[in-house]
């Protein structure tokens, strides 16, 4: 399989604080990979440099062989990278369907729009029930479903998901992760950032462990499952 995305020696700083250090990362087409790590490890920053919300200070990012680092975020979105941000960031005053429509603004084809809308309503029947309801009035789990739905409406080639389980009850987490697997099966390559390591390991094929801005370990979920160092990194000893 060919590489969809490749990061080469990415560094990023906030002022003098180093957020990412020499990140090398390859994502194959149709993969579902997860980046795990404790709070403050740099997981969100990693997604932000990929989607162009931050310009990396050093290094190179290729998407289908084309260099995208330094490009504006809206251009990167048009190339087929969709970023589902942490804490959802919905248009809270718009209703469910309008939020979904906003996610499709790069689609120029009405047929495709309808097809995608049918797909997200099939994955999230709850959203279809509530399509005229204002997003701000949804429950936390429903808001996360909507964020996810909105982020796949553009039919992206690569989906970046930031902490989709944050603040959700275990049952709701499971629903969200079932949906993520479904989206993946439809052929969307997904890079997931998740603090809940167990959950990430249940769905992702490859795991990249981030600690203080560096990738310190990687492998399949099976390989890392009983790795004692993961615990050490999360708990400090």
């Amino acid at each position: 399989m060919k590489d969809l995305l490749e990061l080469k020696k990415i560094y990023h700083y906030y002022g003098k604080a180093r957020a990412l250090e020499e990140i090398n990362l390859k994502i194959e087409e149709n993969a579902l990979d997860a980046v795990i790590g404790p709070n403050g490890a740099g997981k969100s920053t990693l997604l932000r440099v990929i989607s162009g919300l931050e310009e990396p200070d050093r290094g190179k990012i290729d998407f289908y062989g084309e260099r995208i680092d330094g490009m504006k975020a809206h251009k990167i979105a048009k190339k087929g990278i969709s970023h589902c941000p942490e804490r959802r960031r919905l248009f809270y005053d718009l209703n469910v369907e309008d939020n979904i429509k906003m996610g499709a603004y790069t689609l120029k084809n009405r047929e495709k729009y309808k097809e995608m809308k049918d797909f997200v309503y099939e994955v999230f029947p709850r959203l279809k029930e509530r399509r005229k309801q204002r997003a701000g009035t949804l429950s936390g789990g429903e808001q996360q479903m909507l964020a996810l739905a909105r982020s796949i409406m553009s039919n992206p080639k690569l989906l970046l998901l930031d902490e989709p389980s944050l603040g959700l009850a275990p049952k709701v987490k499971k629903k969200i992760f079932d949906a993520i697997e479904k989206i993946k099966q439809e052929g969307t390559t997904t890079l997931l950032v998740e603090q809940d390591a167990s959950l990430a390991m249940e769905v992702a094929e490859n795991i990249h462990l981030l600690e203080e801005g560096k990738i310190v370990m990687r492998g399949t979920a099976e390989e890392l499952k009983n790795e004692p160092r993961i615990k050490e990194i999360y708990l400090g000893i």
Partner: protein, 246 residues
């Protein structure tokens, strides 16, 4: 060693969210103790309740035998509890020396200031935190690591018995973290009781002999770092429910 802080059945609700839920613990005078928990666990809320920045919904807090539940922050400082904040706060247009002098003029700070002079006292604190060379500079031009030190300096100026440090390592480089670690150790050796939070645990877990862990507002463990790190509920809180880690 007597009990310096006694927290009993402490609860804080923000609307429908219970940020701190029936939380109890004790700290002995002279202890060096950590408070850990994943993001959103309620660590800062506990600090806000102890230092008077939030009023508890129920429960009690006693300091040195005195009931301080719901007292205003300045009263709590005057009794001997000082705190730092996660996000650094300074008097931007005062010099570093003046920043520290402000706290040296607090009720307890004055006990020392009167004896040795306010400027002397403030300047001895700047020496202790390693910023005496920059005494005349305003904080806006300082790097983040120095600002963190200044926060601690301002807290020490109030001459506290109990110091609450909220995430003193966050956003610091490794070298800067070491500087802060040394400073905190020194304060503890000087007899200050220290209560410290962190979600980045590498520094914290090797620094303190005792750790309280919390998750979703609730108490989950209180033991040595080693034991807490191997506690099944703590591991679930950090890594999620699953097999293999515990």
């Amino acid at each position: 060693m007597g009990i310096i802080l006694e927290v009993k059945n402490l609860t804080k609700k923000f609307g429908g969210l219970t940020a701190v839920n029936d939380f109890s613990f004790e700290i002995k005078r002279g202890e060096f103790i950590g408070l850990i928990g994943p993001n959103g666990a309620g660590k800062t809320t506990i600090f806000n309740l102890i230092s008077g920045f939030e009023k508890p919904s129920s429960g009690s807090i006693r300091f040195d035998g005195i009931d301080i539940t719901g007292l205003r922050p300045y009263k709590i400082v005057n009794l001997g509890i000082a705190r730092t904040f996660q996000l650094v706060r300074s008097f931007k247009f005062l010099s570093l020396l003046e920043n520290v002098e402000v706290s040296c003029l607090s009720k307890r700070g004055k006990e020392v200031s009167k004896k040795i002079g306010t400027e002397e006292y403030a300047s001895s604190i700047l020496t202790a935190i390693g910023l005496v060379d920059k005494a005349t500079i305003p904080p806006i031009v300082l790097p983040h690591g120095d600002l963190r030190k200044l926060q601690i300096g301002k807290a020490i100026g109030t001459n506290p018995e109990l110091l609450l440090l909220d995430e003193p390592f966050s956003g610091l480089s490794f070298e800067e973290q070491l500087g802060i670690t040394d400073l905190i150790k020194k304060l503890h050796e000087d007899g200050v009781t220290i209560f410290i939070t962190g979600h980045v645990l590498r520094e914290l877990m090797t620094l303190v002999p005792r750790v309280i862990a919390m998750h979703q507002g609730k108490f989950i463990a209180d033991s040595s770092p080693q034991e807490v790190a191997n506690n099944k509920i703590v591991l679930e809180a950090y890594l999620g429910k699953g097999e293999g880690f515990a």
